[in-house]
Amino acid sequence: MSTTTSTDSRARGKAPAGERVADWADGRLGIYSLAKANMRKIFPDHWSFMLGEICLYSFIIIILTGVYLTLFFHPSMNEVEYHGSYVPLQGQLMSEAYKSTLDISFDVRGGLLIRQIHHWAALIFVAGMFVHMMRVFFTGAFRKPREINWLFGFLLLVLGMFTGFTGYSLPDDLLSGTGIRFMEGAILSVPIVGTYLSFFLFGGEFPGDDFVARFFSIHVLLLPGIMLGLVVAHLILVFYHKHTQFPGPGKTNKNVVGMPLLPVYMAKAGGFFFLVFGVIAAVAAIATVNPIWAIGPYRPDMVSTGAQPDWYMGFSEGLVRVMPGWEINFWGHTLVLGVFIPLMIFPLVLVAIAVYPFIESWVTGDKREHHILDRPRNAPTRTAFGVAWMTLYFVLLIGGGNDIWATHFHLSINAITWFVRIAFFVAPVVAFVVTKRICLGLQRRDKEKVLHGRESGIIKRLPHGEFIEVHEPLSQEQLYTLTAHEQPKPLELGPEVDENGVRRKVKASEKLRAKLSKGFYGEESQIPKPTVEEYKEITSGHGHH
């Protein structure tokens, strides 16, 4: 009690105004205890650690510009005649949603800019999440204790895709309407309940009068609300876990080396928000995105070639385009496999990468915390899996744009479709094998470097006439960095009979696990890193060669 009184009296004394406000807030919110842990929190410096910030900031930009757009956008499908500023649409019938989007683009000063910032930021947001996720994946940052944060991030990616898709549909232009029509067809393909789902979603037959208003509340309220919650949780966990770091001298699994939040990261991260916003604003100033006036209002009997979704839905478009048209009719029912199978593979593609961390931790049986990142080459199987997954993803993206590739590279659309059909199965396997070999090659090179030093580029002539390149020994820092990674041994099943000579029952899952473990850490999956003995033998022997 006495201490409280004394601090109070001190605060009421000559303390500066800022301090008094902080004291006031602390008395109600306990901000000092919060700040004690966080104000000088250390963050490591690496450009790839800022990819997540790109996503965070573009998300904030999308919210800011989105709120502005709602002030002018009318989420209504009432048919009106257009008499605005854009001449080539004069007198055309269109929905109010489309008309208000035209007005935002042509009659609201700066409306076009805000619309373009919103759309570009959305494209960059999802691209940023994709790259951020790949960074986390290839460096193994998803390992314990960060598995849940990995899932939060994954959910953000999926929700970001759907928020983008619903937003793309709102202007009710010919392109987005075609996308919605595709979605309706896909829903219809769902066995048993498909037609009901479609009628409930569209308030009756396609297109009906409802979907713009419904998608609007999903786009501006439901999905962004969930995402906002997930973003906050994601950030709290980043703070709580403290950031991972790359291996290097002085960096251990029990510390984090970098700069303090106040002042360096306050300035760098805060400044980076303005940099991101500035770059996106400039992009919106120089490049058009989704010029809906050129696309025209939606009519279900009209279409344009080159009908594509935004890029993040491109891989699902690819799945649909390359699927053969299988349809099974039985007992008065139709199973639309040609649409339903892609509809099911679509989430599977995403889930494949999302569950990988759990598979890896099961295979390795590793339950320790990891705060030091892996160099991708030192985890060849994981890296190869990631590259195989990305290969699959990009093959499908090619499939999704097959008509554009056909016209721009003078190819046959049928040939591209067949290429994607085959590559869907073959390319990931090839990518896996090739990546693994490259990783092993890089591991060998690291070993060479540790044992024989760095190629200096200096050629020396020996007394007997031989030319050799001088290898410089590595510094202690480099030696440490190149040898700090761990190399687990594969799991062994143990003897098949116990000490009494009785056959031990080995579960099938155990056998699978041992096999996978061998795939991860067996002789063919990692190059043994140099030992101190090897190093000493070579350095004490015939010098640098």
Partner: protein, 352 residues
């Protein structure tokens, strides 16, 4: 499956635990962690003139940002919203959009660049190390929590009074059903709506372009025409829903070239009327190649052979485009001889 399954010796040796402490290289281990490298000063740390230069750069960036904001407001006020300018290499673009975007971009970018330059050159760049603490609770804490939980559970008597527990779970499981039921009025039930279109016997085929009924002589071999049922006008309420099913694609092929017998029978002198709605997912399909008689869907490249009953010859569509049976009425106009015999557009479970 837990880590206990793995023999201890198979796990790699624990990482160096001397968090941050400098462990000097020694004879025994040349690969040992040498610890954090010593701090090296930047130019700005030792040269006050360089620091002053940095200060001025930061201030300049902030000033440019202020000027750009002034420019933004000036552009907003002075440039008409419909003014177009030619700017190489962008083309003829909106002057206002470009001016607003560039000034806003510059104003924001300079704030960021100033802050980052300040952080990079003038703020301390001493690397610091924070310790990490294990996230798992200490065993005592864990034991305490478990005890508390058991105590609480015991005091609630939930374990003993099973009736309460079971009825509570029942009530909680049922209550969300109200929410599900509330969704019923999102839309009507499908009924047979997907099976019927506006076409019926005697309905004239009206040209989409001219809004006039079509005569057979209007359609020449190699031409492509789109038709709607008579009486459906663009201003009608429900036009979108009806045209989404009724849109018709008319082509004329030499009767000798028509391979499918039924298609020929349902045509009128080689004039074939197919649904314009793709049987895959419903895009309006109409990329008609008049020499090959193939029609391609622009969305997913399903290809139909219109000379052969619109059979699918490539792509993801599962069945042919439905054909509308047509004839000519007494006045010589093309008319439908009924509705489509099968549902148009994408397949669905009840289609059969």
């Amino acid at each position: 499956m837990s880590s206990q399954d793995i023999p201890e010796e198979n796990l790699p040796a624990a990482q160096d635990t001397s968090h941050g402490a400098v462990k000097l290289a020694d004879e025994q281990n040349p690969f040992a962690d040498p610890g954090l490298p010593p701090h090296e000063p930047r130019v700005q740390d030792i040269d006050e003139r360089a620091a002053k230069r940095s200060e001025r750069t930061v201030a300049l960036l902030f000033t440019v940002s202020m000027l750009a904001t002034v420019g933004f407001i000036a552009s907003y006020v002075t440039i008409p919203v419909d003014k177009a300018v030619y700017i190489w290499p962008l083309g003829h673009i909106s002057a206002l959009n470009f001016a607003l975007g560039m000034t806003l971009g510059l104003a924001l970018f300079c704030i960021g660049a100033g802050a980052v330059h300040w952080a990079r050159t003038l703020m301390s760049d001493h690397e610091l190390a924070d310790e990490r603490h294990p996230i798992e609770a200490a065993p005592e804490v864990r034991a305490k929590v478990m005890d508390d939980f058991r105590q609480g559970a015991k005091e609630s008597v939930i374990g003993r009074r099973k009736l309460i527990r079971n009825t509570m779970f029942g009530a909680l499981a049922l209550v969300p059903l109200s929410g599900v039921v509330l969704l019923r009025d999102l839309g009507p039930l499908p009924g047979t709506k997907l099976r019927h279109t506006l076409w019926s016997k005697g309905k004239l085929l009206v040209n989409m372009n001219t809004n006039e009924p079509l005569r057979p002589s209007d359609l020449i071999v190699g031409s492509l025409t789109f038709a709607k049922p008579e009486g459906l006008e663009e201003h009608d309420h429900g036009f979108q829903n009806e045209i989404a099913k009724a849109a018709l694609m008319l082509v004329r092929i030499q009767p000798d070239d028509i391979k499918d017998k039924r298609a020929l029978e349902w045509s009128h002198e080689g004039i074939l009327a197919y649904s314009k709605i793709c049987t895959h997912v419903g895009c309006p399909i109409s990329l008609y190649e008049q020499q090959t008689h193939h029609a391609l869907c622009p969305c997913h490249q399903s290809t139909f052979d219109l000379a052969d009953g619109a059979k699918v010859i490539f792509g993801p569509a599962g069945h042919p485009l439905p054909q509308l049976r047509i004839g000519v009425n007494d006045e010589g106009y093309l008319e439908a001889l009924g509705d489509f015999e099968e549902p148009v557009g994408p397949a669905f479970w009840e289609r059969g």
